[in-house]
Symmetry: C2
Subunit: 380 residues, 2 copies
């Protein structure tokens, strides 16, 4: 095991009906919040009303800032900062999935620092503080509700970068599985793939040493996603399966999968960001194409590790059969495993590779140009 | 999954040589600390000197308070409070295992509140604050370095109670596996059993619902202990095995094993506390006697759960064979599995039962008098 520092102060409030506690949690921190969300669906499904009621009961005013898009963009975050400052809010309340929470973190930083958000992201400047952030999760996937990271795209340069700073840990996050009962089959598939990808990035790229706890922790995350998905395919509103999937998502990217991993690389995330940036597909869809491709490309070099992984997941130590079973699982939940499955018949592999290399400069990478190109090609 | 709230703000600094960072971590919080420890062994093995150097480098004064005993007692904690107040310390630095950290938490509460520590433990009074606590772990077992609980014995009444309050979360804990290379075979065995017991209390007594993540998390903890122990039996100074065991210990009782478990009972801990209180044996030794006894007593009632457990741990779904394999493991690491193995030929089962029932009143219990007596008898 390699050295690490871990500190994660986020308060998680998990369970059926916990959405009603959001006002009480915010009260000690704020009299007025910026309420951020994506589409207006939260107004149709009752979530909006329940949140407003909880804020009202606790005498908390709010200003709305909606239309945060999947793969959030810098220009929209900047407008959010303007509105937050103009209205003198004391905190941000993000209601949604990873994109809404991510952009809200960017806004929280932008409100309290004179420098530009992008200067922080590219490490040109260092923020001093951030507004307190609260979240109500409606689509579990990125664990943004329990980590200090956000991903944002600079819509001028099309650079999609991740940024981590402990100032943007949410103060408290509501994980109410009931809110996720209506997540579509498609979104469930994409978020499941995202959770699996988060879990295994370090597992497959860390320096390989003896770490039974860490290895088993990761294998358990993947098994847990599959266990929930099998039930949800038959019964999409199964509360227990939704609850288990929600907690698994949070536990997959709250830092614990990296504790002791030492240096590792997020190969699949590095290569996916260009796909969703160029083709506007869901992040999880891009990952579903890349994961089996990555496994095939590295099946000799990572043979032992892949065999251990598939033994744990499918009780199968043959790597080829393991990859096939993994593809079958992706097919079963309705995720694409080839570019063409999602309507990208001729992906621009040169351009994707170029962007992936740039992403690698920012985040660090062990992939050579040739690796990247070959993996993309295996997705054809 | 049942509802829960989880918030654990402890900063973990893990790795070889991290002991040298303790002064830097304390500096923002204190100019003078109460340095608590158990026996003088830390003066022989170099730990004391390295800590003093780190404090010196950061201009932090210290007052020593030693001789904290295994199963710490209230009267000693109270003397610690006197010394801490007299010397106007700003923080407590606990260097040791669970007992030292537990008593240090009691002292941290006692220093800042007018009420008696015991009034807090029995919920007669509520503390308002606590001195900041820092820890350097030398014997990994109880996870006290990453939880808000301490166990203390009132040496007037012989009541041994656990108390939880988020005020006593350590600010930061140093987990330097190198410090544990010299832990004896006996202590390694007892602490391993303690870690396993922590892991499985909720697993076996929670309301049984669908919770693949939580179940797998617990099974992984137990497998991880066994994996480290197998190596340490051959090579007691294996850094990687010590590191994995250390992190497993912390992850076994930092709250995550209870997330989603709902109502559960610590049967084995409830029944062990009287054994170590009366016979002065190690907590882990008492647990090693009780765990197989508990499994045998409940093997019909908990058949399905035990079968699932042994399938995960030993790839064995027959409960009788599973229990036997578990006893073999305990034997192999050198833990007792019967009272007589540790020199208690005629345990006073009436008295043990009486104390266990009293403990059950304080902590909550699902065990009837008859259950308790029968389980103790299965340890004969």
């Amino acid at each position: 095991m390699k050295s690490f520092t871990y500190k994660n102060p986020v308060k998680i409030i998990f369970g059926n009906g916990t959405i009603n506690q959001i006002g009480k949690e915010i009260k000690p921190y704020a009299k007025k919040v910026l309420l951020t969300y994506g589409k207006s669906s939260i107004k149709q499904n009752g979530i909006y009303e329940r949140i407003i009621n909880s804020l009202d009961e606790n005498d908390i005013e709010f200003v709305e800032y909606a239309n945060i898009q999947a793969n959030p963009i810098l220009s929209h975050a900047k407008k959010g900062v303007e509105i937050a400052i103009k209205n003198k809010v004391d905190a941000i309340l993000a209601v949604g999935g990873g994109s809404v929470i991510d952009e809200s973190k960017a806004i929280a930083l932008g409100c309290t620092n004179e420098d530009n958000i992008w200067d922080f992201v590219i490490n040109k400047a260092k923020p001093e503080k951030a507004l307190p952030i609260f979240t109500v999760v409606t689509i579990p996937a990125t664990a943004s509700e329990m980590n200090a990271t956000f991903v944002i795209t600079n819509d001028k340069t099309m650079d999609k970068f991740a940024y981590t700073n402990e100032l943007v840990y949410p103060v408290a996050s509501i994980l109410d599985p009931e809110l996720t009962l209506t997540v579509s089959k498609e979104q469930t598939a994409y978020t499941s793939v995202d959770i699996i990808a988060h879990s295994i990035e370090a597992y497959f790229t860390k320096e390989d040493d003896f770490a039974p706890f860490l290895d088993g922790y990761v294998e358990n995350l993947v098994k847990s996603v599959i266990a929930s998905d099998k039930i949800l395919l038959q019964d999409s509103k199964n509360y227990e399966a939704r609850a288990n999937l929600m907690w698994t998502a949070t536990m997959a990217w709250n830092g614990l999968t990296n504790c002791g991993a030492g240096c590792f690389y997020a190969n699949n995330h590095q290569m996916e960001h260009p796909i969703s940036a160029i083709y506007g597909i869901a992040h999880g869809a891009g990952l579903a194409i890349l994961l089996p491709a990555w496994m095939k490309y590295f099946k000799e070099e990572k043979k032992e590790r892949l065999s251990k992984f598939f033994k744990a997941i499918f009780d199968e130590d043959n790597v080829d059969i393991g990859i096939k079973k993994f593809e079958d699982f992706l097919n079963e939940i309705g995720a694409p495993i080839k570019f063409k499955d999602i309507g990208i018949d001729n992906p621009d592999i040169e351009e994707l590779t170029k962007l992936a290399i740039i992403g690698g400069y920012q985040r660090g990478s062990n992939l050579k140009e040739e690796d990247i190109k070959s993996i993309y090609k295996l997705g054809l």
